[in-house]
C-alpha cells in the first residue's frame, strides 16, 4: 500500500488473514467497501480521513479479504462473518459507513446486533426490492458496458478500476484479473439473483442514527430506493442525493459523498 499515511495490518477472521487499512486521527470510522472492493486507497477515503481515523477492513472474497466467502452459504453466515470482522478490526460499537454491498452488510449487522453499530451511513445499499424498478444486474458481463453501469464517468472508471496497471507481467495481469473476478463472485454469492434478502423485515431493528446517500444516476440501485429505505428506517435523519454520481459514488463524487 503506497498511499501516504495509510497503515496496513492483518487480522484473523474465520481462520483467514484479512487486510485492514487505516488512516487519520480521532474517533474510528469504519468503512465497508462496495462491489469490487478496494484495490488501492482512494481519494474518497482520504476525504473521510481528514476528519476521522478511517478503518477499512476487507469483506470476505474482496481484495485483501481472503477466500472465506466460499464458506458463507446463508445470509446469517455473512452477517456473523461481518460482525466478526468488525470486532477484529476494532470497530465493534463504532460509527460505520457502508457502500453498496458493504452498506447491505453494515445494515444487516446493525439489525442483527444493535449494540455493534453506533451510527450508520448507507451509500446506495442493496437489500430492498421494488418490483416496478428491479435493481440493475452487475453480474452479467459485457465488458464494454460494465463501466457505464457503475459510474457516471465510465472512461475514467474503466481506466482506474477495470484495467490492470500498466507494466504487469502476463501472469500478474491474470492474478489481478482473478482478484477482481473473485470480488464479483463474492458479491454474487450473497446478492444473486438480486431478490430481496429479507432486510425489509429487519429494518425496524435499526435504531441507531442512519444517513442515506445515493448517486442520482445510479443504474444498479436506482435513487428511488433511497426513499424506500428512508420510509422503513425510523431513525433515518438525512437523505442526500448526489447529483451527477452513479452507483460508484465514491469514485464519481468523492467530495460530496464524503461530506455526509
Amino acid at each position: 500500500m503506497s498511499a501516504a499515511g495509510v497503515s496496513e495490518r492483518l487480522v484473523k477472521v474465520g481462520g483467514e488473514s484479512v487486510r485492514v487499512w487505516e488512516k487519520g486521527k480521532g474517533e474510528p470510522l469504519g468503512y465497508l467497501a462496495g462491489l469490487g472492493g478496494l484495490l488501492e486507497w482512494t481519494p474518497f477515503l482520504d476525504k473521510l480521513a481528514e476528519r476521522r481515523r478511517v478503518v477499512v477492513p476487507s469483506l470476505p472474497g474482496f481484495p485483501g479479504g481472503g477466500q472465506l466467502h466460499r464458506q458463507l452459504d446463508t445470509l446469517a453466515d455473512w452477517v456473523i462473518c461481518t460482525l466478526d470482522l468488525l470486532e477484529a478490526a476494532g470497530l465493534d460499537g463504532k460509527d460505520l459507513v457502508g457502500h453498496s454491498i458493504g452498506g447491505t452488510l453494515a445494515a444487516e449487522a446493525a439489525a442483527f446486533s444493535r449494540a455493534s453499530v453506533k451510527s450508520l451511513v448507507l451509500m446506495a445499499p442493496f437489500g430492498l426490492y421494488d418490483e416496478n424498478d428491479p435493481p440493475g444486474d452487475p453480474f452479467n458481463r459485457r465488458a464494454n458496458e460494465v463501466a457505464a453501469l457503475f459510474s457516471s464517468k465510465p472512461a475514467e472508471f474503466a481506466k482506474a478500476r477495470l484495467t490492470p496497471p500498466a507494466g504487469l507481467s502476463a501472469d500478474d495481469a491474470t492474478e489481478w484479473t482473478i482478484v477482481q473476478i473473485r470480488a464479483i463472485e463474492a458479491a454474487s454469492r450473497l446478492l444473486w439473483p438480486l431478490g430481496e434478502l429479507g432486510l425489509s423485515k429487519r429494518l425496524h431493528r435499526i435504531t441507531c442514527p442512519v444517513k442515506l446517500v445515493w448517486g442520482a444516476e445510479d443504474r444498479i440501485i436506482p435513487a428511488s430506493y433511497a426513499k424506500l429505505f428512508a420510509q422503513r428506517l425510523p431513525s433515518a435523519t438525512d437523505l442526500q442525493i448526489v447529483a451527477g454520481a452513479g452507483h460508484a459514488l465514491d469514485f464519481d463524487a468523492p467530495e460530496a459523498a464524503a461530506k455526509v
Partner: protein, 417 residues
C-alpha cells in the same frame, strides 16, 4: 466405436433478420418469436428423426437440456427420452443430461432417470452436466459461486439414492432430507453408465477420471478447435495414470453427407449457416459470470466454449457472420461424400482418441426430409466404415447393459379406430 445421433431441437423458424434485430438467442430471446403451432410440427418432426436414427442402426440417440433457448427446445429432455424409451427398441438412450443443481430436491433426477432406465429395459446413459451459465445462473437463478458445490452434492445424493438399499437421511450443505428412499431404482446395477458433458474445465477432467465416468466434450466448433481440449484431457489422464481407452471420451461433430461433396455443399449450406449465425447468436453478457469458472481454470486459460461462442457472436457483429466456406474450412461441419466423411471422421476419432462419437445430422433449420437423407446415408455408407474402430483393442465399459432383447417388453401396437 460407438456412433450416436444427437438432437439439439432447434427452433427452425427464426426470422432472417434475427441477428440484426435481436440481442440473443438465449436467456432473453423475444418470446413473441415462438409460434406454438409451428413448434408442434417441429417437436414431432424431431422425434421422428430420433426414432428413425434408432431404427436405422445408430448405437444411441442423445437429447439434452436447455432453458429459454431457441436452439434447444428441450427444457426437459426426460420427456423426449420417455417417448424414445417406448418408440425405440435397441438404441441406447443418452440423456446428456439433467443439470443436477437445478432440481430441488435432486432426488427428482434419481427418480426420473430410474424410470427411464426401467421402462427402456436398461438402455439409459445418465448424463450429468453442470449446465451452462445461461441455463443455470441466468435462467434458473442459481448462484454461480455455489453451482459446482451444489452440483457435486446433488451427484453424491443421486448416486446414494440409486445404490443404497436402506432408507437414509441426508444432511448436506444444500439439501436436507430426512427420508431418502428412491423408488424405483434403476435397472442397470449398480447404476446406469454416467457421462459428463463438459467444456474444458480441468476439475471436470480430474473428476471424471476419479469417478471413472465418460467425459464428453460437446463443442459446436468441430474437431480442429476440439483437438486442443481433447489433448488436454488425455494429458491429464496420463498424468493421473489412467489408460487411454477411447471410450472414456465423447465428442460432438456436425456432419453433412451427400452423394458428392459438391452436392453436400449445396444441401447443407442453409441449415449450417442458420445454426452458426442465428442459433449461436448468444449475447456475450451471459457468457461467464464470476464464479462460474474456477480460478484454476481461468489460470490455465482454458476458455470455456461458451466464451468462445460469445466471442464469436461479438466477432460476428464486427466482421459479419461466418460464411459457409469458413464453417466448412474450420471443420465446424464435416461435409462430403460418404467416403470423404468416413475418412475425415476416422481421422477425428483417431487423433482425438474418441470412442463415443456423437453426430449432429439435423441442425439449424434443416427439414425432416434432409435430416432423414443425411441420417440414412450416414448409417448405410459412413457408419460401416467406422464401426470396427477401437473395438478390437478396447472394451467400452461405459455402455448400457440392458436386459436381453427377448426379455424386454414390446409396446403393443396402437390401433386407431
Amino acid at each position: 466405436m460407438k456412433l450416436l445421433w444427437f438432437h439439439l431441437m432447434p427452433y427452425t423458424d427464426l426470422p432472417d433478420d434475427f441477428t440484426k434485430k435481436h440481442a440473443s438467442v438465449w436467456v432473453d430471446i423475444d418470446s413473441r418469436l415462438f409460434d406454438a403451432s409451428k413448434a408442434h410440427a417441429m417437436y414431432n418432426d424431431f422425434m421422428d428423426e430420433l426414432e428413425f436414427a434408432a431404427e436405422i442402426g445408430f448405437d444411441g440417440v442423445c437429447v439434452n437440456e436447455h432453458h429459454q433457448n431457441a436452439y434447444g427446445l428441450m427444457p426437459s429432455p426426460n420427456i423426449i427420452a420417455a417417448s424414445l424409451a417406448r418408440r425405440t427398441r435397441d438404441a441406447a438412450i443418452v440423456v446428456m443430461g439433467n443439470s443436477l443443481a437445478l432440481y430441488n430436491p435432486p432426488t427428482r433426477v434419481a427418480e426420473e432417470f430410474a424410470m427411464l432406465d426401467v421402462i427402456s429395459g436398461g438402455r439409459l446413459v445418465a448424463g450429468f452436466p453442470v449446465g451452462t451459465p445461461m441455463d443455470t445462473v441466468f435462467c434458473y437463478g442459481q448462484n454461480p459461486s455455489q453451482l459446482r458445490e451444489k452440483y457435486l452434492e446433488a451427484h453424491d445424493l443421486v448416486m446414494k439414492a440409486w445404490t443404497e438399499p436402506d432408507v437414509f437421511a441426508w444432511n448436506g450443505r444444500f439439501n436436507k432430507l430426512r427420508y431418502v428412499n428412491t423408488w424405483p431404482k434403476p435397472l442397470q446395477k449398480p447404476h446406469p453408465p454416467v457421462w459428463i458433458p463438459g467444456g474444458g474445465s480441468i476439475e471436470t477432467w480430474r473428476w471424471c477420471a476419479e469417478m471413472d465416468y465418460v467425459y464428453a466434450y460437446l463443442s459446436y466448433f468441430g474437431y480442429k478447435l476440439g483437438q486442443a481440449t481433447m489433448d488436454g484431457f488425455w494429458a491429464e489422464m496420463d498424468r493421473l495414470g489412467k489408460d487411454r481407452n477411447p471410450f472414456r471420451a465423447g465428442f460432438l461433430q456436425f456432419v453433412g453427407v451427400a452423394e458428392t461433396r459438391k452436392e453436400a455443399l449445396e444441401m447443407y449450406r442453409e441449415p449450417a449457416e442458420y445454426f452458426f449465425n442465428r442459433c449461436l447468436h448468444v449475447d456475450a453478457r451471459w457468457a461467464n459470470p464470476a464464479g462460474y469458472s474456477s480460478e484454476a481454470t481461468i489460470r490455465a486459460r482454458v476458455a470455456s466454449q461458451v466464451v468462445a461462442a460469445a466471442t464469436k457472436a461479438s466477432d460476428s457483429v464486427a466482421y459479419g457472420p461466418p460464411s459457409f466456406e469458413e464453417i466448412v474450412d474450420k471443420g465446424y461441419v464435416i461435409i462430403g461424400s460418404p467416403d470423404e466423411v468416413a475418412e475425415q471422421l476416422r481421422e477425428v476419432a483417431v487423433n482425438m482418441n474418441v470412442g463415443q462419437l456423437m453426430m449432429l445430422l439435423q441442425y439449424g433449420n434443416m427439414n425432416k426430409e434432409l435430416a432423414f437423407h443425411n441420417t440414412e446415408l450416414f448409417a448405410k455408407r459412413v457408419a460401416p466404415q467406422l464401426k470396427s474402430l477401437f473395438e478390437d483393442k478396447w472394451e467400452d465399459r461405459w455402455w448400457p447393459k440392458p436386459l436381453a432383447r427377448e426379455d424386454r417388453s414390446v409396446p403393443r401396437q396402437v390401433v386407431v379406430r
